[in-house]
């Protein structure tokens, strides 16, 4: 990555652009990622937000943003972004806005919207080649309403709607692959706990045009049940255990940006979170633990071949 201005950690911003005083939980991993992202995206943005925890960022009359923010229904953020982009384009065409003054159209939603309710609107927007950046903070459930399962919930996790001894029976959807199959301008996974990798990807995304997705794992102390101080550790463990592959799709290729040399056992990640406690107590669920590990191993083995 020689073209990046983020060569070492020292190149990361030390001044932050997103305002303090928001109503999100102490230790919110989604907010951690968002503030790192906003430092690089900057204030020349219009954020189009669908219902979710991040709706609480801007509760009238308070906003942590320096630029505009617009609220849409849960399934409709990409459609809202289309309207905003069209309006900006009209203003540009009429000469009422200079190219300098143009704004990035940014969609900000949770996984419930990105993997589920808003997927059809998203697919349509990519199809139309909409010039927008989609930021999804993936806390693997409907966090704002009490962590019910979503299309992003991992196999075996306890949610408010998956309480049995084996947790959620389904499997996490592969949103990265769904996006990449549309052949968009850019797709990348990030996590707030890997800020340098994140900064390089936001820089990439910012400098491209067309549909772009930044998919951030968002460790959620409230929904995943861990102490708020562990947000960054858990994010890092997701990468080190291979649960959350850091990768990007650009120019038709998928590239892994941080391949864990020696993957830690997935247990190291699972056992720190209350939502997986039933895999360890009252007795170990060996079969389920092995199944989860085997899926991760298969993912990485496939890459090598």
């Amino acid at each position: 990555m020689s073209e990046t201005r983020f060569q070492t950690m020292k190149d990361l911003p030390s001044c932050h652009l997103l305002g303090t005083g928001t109503a999100l939980c102490a230790g919110c991993g989604g907010l951690e990622a968002l503030h790192e992202i906003y430092d690089i995206l900057g204030e020349k943005t219009v954020v189009v937000n669908a219902a979710g925890c991040m709706t609480l960022l801007a509760v009238y009359p308070f906003t942590p943003f320096r630029g505009s923010w617009l609220y849409t229904a849960m399934a409709s953020a990409p459609a809202g972004a289309q309207g905003v982009r069209d309006a900006l384009d009209i203003l540009l065409a009429k000469g009422r806005l200079t190219a300098e003054e143009d704004l990035q159209t940014v969609v900000l939603t949770g996984d419930g919207a990105a993997y589920g309710m808003g997927l059809s609107a998203t697919s349509g927007a990519i199809e139309r080649g909409l010039d927008f950046l989609y930021l999804c903070y993936d806390n693997e459930g409907y966090g704002n309403t009490g962590q019910q399962y979503s299309g992003a919930t991992p196999h075996g996790a306890r949610t408010a709607t998956s309480k049995g001894p084996c947790g959620y029976p389904g499997y996490k959807k592969d949103l990265f692959a769904i996006w990449a199959a549309h052949r968009p301008a850019y797709v990348a996974t990030v996590v707030g706990a890997e800020p340098l990798d994140l900064a390089r990807k936001i820089e990439q995304a910012k400098n491209r045009q067309g549909p772009r997705l930044i998919l951030s794992l968002a460790p959620c102390p409230t929904g995943w049940d861990f102490d708020p101080s562990e947000t960054a550790q858990i994010g890092r463990l997701a990468v080190q255990t291979g649960v959350w592959p850091l990768k990007e799709y650009r120019d038709g290729q998928v590239v892994h940006t941080k391949v864990p040399q020696k993957r830690l056992p997935v247990e190291d990640y699972l056992k720190r979170q209350g939502r997986f406690a039933h895999l360890f107590q009252p007795q170990r669920n060996e079969a389920l633990l092995q199944e989860i590990q085997a899926r991760i191993d298969a993912y990485w083995d496939n890459l090598q071949s």
Binding site: T8, M9, K10, L12, S14, C15, H16, L18, G19, T20, G21, T22, A23, L24, C25, A26, G27, C28, G29, L31, E32, H35, E36, E43, C53, L56, L57, A58, V59, Y60, P61, F62, T63, P64, F65, R66, G67, W69, K163, G192, A193, P195, P221, T222, D227, P228, S229, E230, T231, A232, Q233, A277, H278, Q281, P282
Partner: protein
């Protein structure tokens, strides 16, 4: 009718407390209402939950304005106007505070005419996981103070309400709940039920009539940047991160990058400064500092005069 309000912070189990107490009343044959009340805020922010219990059908709705018992799980909330802990507290109302200080201190400090009961704050409560048992302890305290809920009814309620969390958690909560229930036996029945208010006596609040405006005028548009900084989320904090300047190596500002709230700014000399008016006390910074230069101290032990704007 008994009207009981539980005050705590998001994550301290006040909703669970109200459910357990509600179910325990129900087990004793009462008609019950229980409900949590949140604002938009999250874990750490002040919340309350409330229970009504009566021998006859309950027609009252909404939040409790004139409580018979107020339970305060977190003493740092008392001084916070937004938490409205003392709203409607009069000479009839019993106030139970989870605190290290004795009842007369609180009575004097708050100029309360009614009784104050103290549930002593144990040292190990500084462990935030142990904090979760506060909710069940508060339910047990309320059950004893009203005096009409037997231990068996409470135990059953606790088992039912916590069942989904697993046997280990149920057992871990039963012990502390029983200890609190026993500890408060001298005060059994000190809470008296308040009168049932009839609809005829209802006094309408003073409504402010708002004109119906055009959408362009009345839509909630915010015209300034960064207005959220006017919200003092520093009040959510129960632990305070303190940077030891001697140990801080002014690294690549790890603490500042990882702070989810962006509450650590780095000055020109590369030194981090915590904005205490907004730091929520998550302790991500303390866990991440490679030089272990950030210490967590309980908010009630921290020097009160420290500049809330972050200058040290």
């Amino acid at each position: 009718m008994y009207r009981i309000r539980f005050h705590g912070r998001g994550g301290q189990g006040m909703k669970t407390a109200s459910r357990i107490l509600g179910t325990a009343f129900f087990n004793e044959g009462f008609e019950v209402q229980d409900a949590p009340r949140y604002g938009a805020e999250r874990r750490g922010a002040p919340i309350f939950a409330y229970v009504r219990a009566a021998r006859r059908a309950i027609y009252e709705r909404g939040v409790i304005r004139h409580p018979d018992l107020v339970i305060v799980a977190d003493e740092t909330l008392v001084a916070m106007p937004a938490a409205a802990v003392l709203q409607g507290v009069d000479a009839h109302c019993v106030v139970l505070i989870h605190s290290r200080e004795p009842a007369p201190v609180w009575q004097h400090r708050l100029n309360l005419a009614g009784p104050v009961v103290i549930l002593p704050l144990a040292e190990e409560r500084e462990d935030r996981l142990a904090l979760r048992q506060i909710g069940t302890a508060c339910a047990a305290a309320a059950a004893r103070l009203v005096g009409v809920v037997a231990w068996t009814a409470l135990e059953q309620a606790l088992r039912d309400e916590l069942a989904a969390l697993g046997d280990a958690l149920v057992e871990a909560n039963l012990g502390p709940a029983r200890r609190v229930y026993d500890f408060l036996s001298p005060q059994q029945g000190c809470v008296a039920p308040g009168p049932v208010v009839a609809a005829e006596g209802y006094v309408r609040p003073d409504w402010v009539e708002l004109a119906f405006e055009d959408a362009r005028v009345s839509a909630p548009a915010i015209h300034a940047a960064l207005t959220s900084e006017q919200v003092q989320t520093g009040q959510w904090r129960t632990l305070r991160p303190v940077i030891d300047c001697a140990r801080c190596k002014g690294c690549w500002w790890v603490c500042s990058t990882f702070c989810p709230d962006g509450a650590i700014q780095v000055d020109e000399s590369g030194r981090p400064r915590i904005d205490y008016a907004h730091c929520k006390g998550c302790m991500v910074c303390a866990a991440q500092c490679p030089h272990h230069a950030i210490e967590a101290i309980p908010e009630q032990d921290a020097p009160p005069a420290e500049d809330e704007r972050g200058a040290k």
